[in-house]
Subunit: 301 residues, 4 copies
């Protein structure tokens, strides 16, 4: 009779079931939402079926009965294909339903998606996330969201269901993507600072781990502890996030900054060093392996 039992239960489509996407879907299911999933390779969808997800045969189908369809894909090209391609989300999503993009994409594509959806009477929010697969699974992501305020409010419960904190960045979807890209730049810059200092430390006859101990006292940040440790131990495999994708993000933050005529000299140095790492066949190592470049430039190994 009358009102639904759980006022926030929504019908959610989810497209892109890599480690991040799968973790997010599990968080959504645990919160009680109904989720229909799609992934190019079906096995990943089937793994989630056990947890209660329904499987769709195309992005369009995942979108068709949903209040909201969410996407987590690796780059602009994949998002364009899934949204605007054949049997894509845009063709399946109902008018007034909404697409929320969790992917780290360019601000340019975010603007285009906003426009494409608007032309179809659909809503669009950018809601990229910070955090690793474990955080996705454990509902501990940090979510940045941007777009029309009323839409943000309507879907805030969904975002709260996948992260520990949701921060609204602005009223235009691409703004959240700029925030995400700037955040990744902050992390990559930190990696470079470890790369440069460890080179000095090593060439001065000291241990990187000792320097890391000092930095842990100083910064007292889990991000410093984590990456500082990976770089000190050169533990670049398996990659949590590949150098190739890291380069993509540096390229995108430079592009986002260029749109507003903002120079980013540190990002320029990073771009050069990521390229040098690529030239040295590090594309599939963890992106923190960019720290090998300052070491090599100091004549180390």
């Amino acid at each position: 009779m009358g009102l639904p039992l759980h006022p926030h239960v929504m019908n959610i489509g989810y497209v892109g079931l890599g480690k991040m996407g799968s973790g997010i879907v599990r968080s959504l299911l645990r919160t009680g939402h109904r989720v229909v999933v799609y992934n190019r390779s079906r096995e990943k969808a089937e793994a989630l079926a056990k947890d209660g997800a329904r499987i769709a045969n195309s992005p369009a189908e995942a979108a068709s009965d949903s209040d909201v369809v969410m996407t987590m894909l690796s780059d602009d090209q994949a998002v364009e294909q899934v949204v605007l391609g054949d049997k894509g989300i845009a063709s399946g999503l109902r008018r007034a339903a909404v697409h929320i993009s969790n992917s780290t994409i360019s601000t340019a594509l975010a603007r285009r998606l906003a426009q494409e959806h608007q032309q179809r009477g659909q809503g669009y929010l950018s809601a990229p996330v910070f955090g690793r697969p474990e955080a996705a699974e454990a509902k501990k992501l940090v979510v940045t969201v941007a777009g029309e305020e009323s839409l943000i409010e309507r879907f805030r419960p969904v975002l709260d269901a996948i992260g520990r904190k949701t921060i609204a960045a602005g009223s235009e979807p691409w703004q959240a993507n700029a925030v995400k890209l700037c955040g990744n730049f902050m992390i990559a810059s930190m990696m470079e600072t470890f790369g440069e200092t460890y080179a000095v430390i090593r060439k001065s006859g000291m241990q990187p781990q000792m320097f890391l101990d000092v930095m842990n006292e100083l910064f007292n940040s889990p991000v410093y502890a984590n990456y500082g440790g990976i770089i000190a131990n050169e533990r670049y495999e398996p990659a949590a996030f590949t150098l190739k994708l890291g380069l993509k993000d540096i390229r995108l933050v430079l592009a986002a900054a260029e749109e507003t005529a903002t120079p980013m000299p540190f990002a320029s140095v990073l771009r050069d060093n990521f390229l040098s790492a690529l030239a040295d066949n590090q594309e599939d190592l963890d992106w923190s392996s960019v720290a090998k470049i300052p070491a090599r430039n100091a004549g180390l190994k």
Copy 2:
């Protein structure tokens, strides 16, 4: 009878009573050490007399009856003068007694001090500290120490008395100075990353404080929170540490790296931006005001 026997009570001379030095002296006095102090302008010494310090009339006098004399001065020149100048520490310190330098000085000067003291049969340790005046007062500094191992062990209690953590960097004193300079470079780099991202954020129509909220979730570091806030609010006065001294430290880290033929491209960018800030009359602002340069280069204010 009378005072309890405290195995670690030492006779300590302390030269250089700025905010940092005075805080350290208070920590030493509270731990029960006997401290004789010297400062060029006598008022600062007198302020500590109330807390139990004895006042010396020269660096040499502060050193003469001490097991150890410690120094905290603003730059190489001041340290050279106080140690090797007229009525300097080197002339007053007994054989076998030790000089511990807490200042942020060049690795080159640390090597010279080690040599000068050795020629006089005196010991020398570099023990630069991380932390602000409040931390000095509250015994919460992070202390990096380097030099002969037996000396470090002998004076570890003194170092433990001024900080929350003492980390040994190596057996040559200058190594601790390299660590300190690298640490300051890490902090200055973080400032630049805020400068660049806030410029993008502002030109993209968003609030730096919002971005800082995201970064606080991400890095969860008091250093990020502190400097991120100062830069977001452009609260560069009063300076906790002046831009002029910050430039000095960047210059010194580049010099330390050059001794081992280690390029530091981020430090090079920082040097350029500190110089540009100097050219813009920011020398007495807080060193975090280096973040004004990327803002200005993006056409902001």
Copy 3:
């Protein structure tokens, strides 16, 4: 009957009649070639009619009766439109006829043009040029050409007709575009070196013109003399080549280098400085006004 009077007279279409294109057309006409021209705004075509050019009503028409159609347009977008758009060159050019692009475009577009023309049985050469409008008119351009060797040989007389030197860069058209972009990077770097040194010279109480006199003795290069003079006198208007187009070229050289994973740290600094100049509303000044950035960063004016 028998052989044509002048073995090299060709039927040439020319699209894009800015200063450079018009100068080239005049050189072609003077050499005896038959030229049919097209320009979006017809006045420029009419100015050439007096010199013997025939006027076409579309790029396709300019191409339709020609052995070769040449293009000189300001950027990738304009070239795409003129070649692949409605009534574009690709639709008008006969099989076996050839398109020679004189524009400074991306290596990526050059590859696409090669492919598009090939699919239509048409030939394609990239033949970007170095030199200013006066040089175009006076047949003094330096021409870099790349593409299939037999095509280069066939059209070498046409290229020799527009420049004082034709240099073959390789067998793939985009290679010539890489050369042109690298050349523009060399020039832009030289501008930056004048910007940096003039700043030191001025702040040291000396005259840029004096320093230029020394550099003219040293380098003895007309390019140094020309740009060194423009920058010394800050004569940035009227622009021979706008800063906006200069930024485009720096962007394109970085993109070309990225395709082969080649870092270009000087180009990265240039990109930052061009962006800073853009943020300071210099887009319509001469591109050499990028030299204002190091001056401003030194606190000058």
Copy 4:
């Protein structure tokens, strides 16, 4: 009777007889000046005795009977020693006689020399030179001179005797050193631009020599032709000017710029790359071998 009256014949002491110094002395002798020479290793002095030079046994002796004593030494330390050390020039030079320094030294040392000489009633001019040993011998150097105007005028004939052009930079001697250092920075920057572009060219399947041909057409400068050729052929031995000395000059131009709070981002990149080359044991190769760094950073060889 006897020698012709030559109004400009002077008594000249010359200290420092490396390739440059020896070439200059020969130019002076050919012009009719009387020259007394000193060099630490006497053989080089003896080689000049055949050409008419008299040999002195110390810098002081070379200075003692001279109207002017000139010096050409490799670095600040050597100049300090020769001028202010035991039996140094300052102790031998008469009041009102003048020291002209041809060496590439720091602006700081130039200021100190000016002061030291002034205190002794002696004159001082900085007159660093551009050009290689062959140019020194052939009287084809470009001379930059700074100091008191009347002194410059008095000794202009001497400077005209060693170069093809004498340019006055300012009234304070150090200004000429700033000009010389800026000039060397211009040349080093050009090397880096060849390093970066050749890397792109090679990775794009083209020949550096072809690119150099284009640049020679474009810049038409002997300096480009010379260094572009050395770098294209990687002909870094024997060194005309070692990388180690090149690094010294980059360090000095950065120091000169720092004195006036002038950032030089290209010079910062150069410093990083020279250090990287040093870490790779290139110290005795020609300084143009700094171009190996961008090649290596692109994964070449």
